[in-house]
Symmetry: C2
Subunit: 255 residues, 2 copies
């Protein structure tokens, strides 16, 4: 039997958000590779070997997966959310691109998952219901300047914005800088969703206008979604609903 | 028993991409509301009423769903993909926002799904592996000028771009205009993925450089993903792999 690699998205946390396609792949695997907390979500069983590794070793992990597949193993590389959004799929393809020729001929599939921004948006309402952009605020793998440039252009385009990895101990002050840039580019009433650990027991949602937003509202487990200029809140007895209307009038677009 | 509305994403087409959460909601529903081809995906059963309606009646459909829930029905509003991305969630919340006060107190949940861009990206590799934006190219609900403005700013930000609804008979020439704008803003080698009917029997993927892209490569069932300046192809015996690396070097960002 020939080996393969499937790069699978486990969704944001809740098992009911794992697709049957991913569940099937996990049941066929001989080996699971991934970051420690994601591998911890996989049930042990006879014939399955779990290979959990630390953060920031994505290329080593990818090479390990590809090497095992070339030896005939059936390897699932697990990511949280969707593997194609700031997760393992690009890392595996970088390893293929720079690896031995035989790796190119392996069967490699990406199995999509519910990425954090879609789960967070769904819990709050529909803040991504119109055009939006998705930015990783970590400068581990790109210069900080490009993040600032993209923030300003995204604000000028009036995109809603979904931010992954908004804060880390290794970059103190950077999320404060993001809020500063947003204050320069957007009106004070602009609505921001801070959605922590969505679909887990620790889920916590908070909506704040930009003028009252503080860096402490986010941590590494928080998805931050900045509304467009048209994003609105519906107040009610229960949790408020945050949504972006589908319609933009002529005069709204010309501002 | 009190009624509710669940706005559910059926994913791009393949049943293995429907989340268990959505399957469970469908099994509890008394009524299904949605656009004809999406309602056609739901199996009939005793006790379940299917309400299929035509395109462009999203607000009527939303009001119908909310009215039935206020009468005690358990209503699932179905979208393809994810309901929060150019689909029914915003329409339902618009109807709540403009409807009778009692609708605000209904239990309304959004159940996320695999949206078309994630499914298309997964089939091609990982073109959305770095910062990206998502634009609906239909000008049914917004002025065309804002689409052009967003395209230019997104290109200047060097986002990868996912386009929903790239073409329609009602707006001939508009997608040609999109390609023109991209040619003004991007280099001719820029890679574009045309992913038609992903995860269905009619799936067809094609990768073209911007210089060779033509409007006919897309139709209403096509997801178009324009790479960033760093998006690459890995050629091999099987289908090529399209991916965007995670890393941006200092000199790449300064261009």
């Amino acid at each position: 039997m020939s080996g393969w690699v499937k790069i699978a998205g486990l969704g944001p946390g809740k098992e009911a958000l794992v697709t049957p396609e991913v569940t099937e792949a996990l049941s066929q695997a001989t080996d699971i590779v991934g970051y420690i907390p994601y591998v911890a979500r996989i049930a042990e069983r006879p014939g399955l070997t779990l290979h959990a590794s630390d953060n920031r070793v994505e290329i080593d992990r990818s090479q390990h997966a590809l090497q095992m597949a070339s030896e005939g193993k059936r390897v699932v590389v697990v990511s949280s959310g969707d593997p194609g959004v700031f997760a393992m799929a690009s890392a595996v393809f970088e390893a293929v691109d720079n690896g031995p020729a035989e790796w190119r001929e392996l069967q490699i599939d990406v199995l999509p998952g519910i990425t954090a921004m879609l789960a967070a948006a769904a819990r709050a309402g529909a803040p991504l219901g119109h055009d939006f952009c998705t930015i990783n605020l970590s400068d581990n793998l790109k210069p900080w300047e490009i993040i600032e440039k993209r923030l300003r252009l995204a604000a000028q385009a009036d995109f809603a914005m979904a931010f992954y990895n908004p804060r880390a101990k290794s970059r103190p002050g950077k999320f404060e800088r993001v809020l500063e840039i947003l204050r320069e580019e957007c009106e004070p009433e602009r609505l921001i969703l801070f959605a922590r650990a969505v679909s887990t027991d620790e889920e916590a949602l908070r909506i704040s206008p930009l003028s009252e937003a503080t860096p402490e509202m986010a941590d590494m487990r928080t998805m931050v979604i900045v509304g467009s200029s048209l994003t609105r809140v519906i107040e009610r007895k229960g949790d408020p609903i945050l949504y972006t209307p589908r319609f933009i009038a002529k005069d709204q677009a010309q501002e």
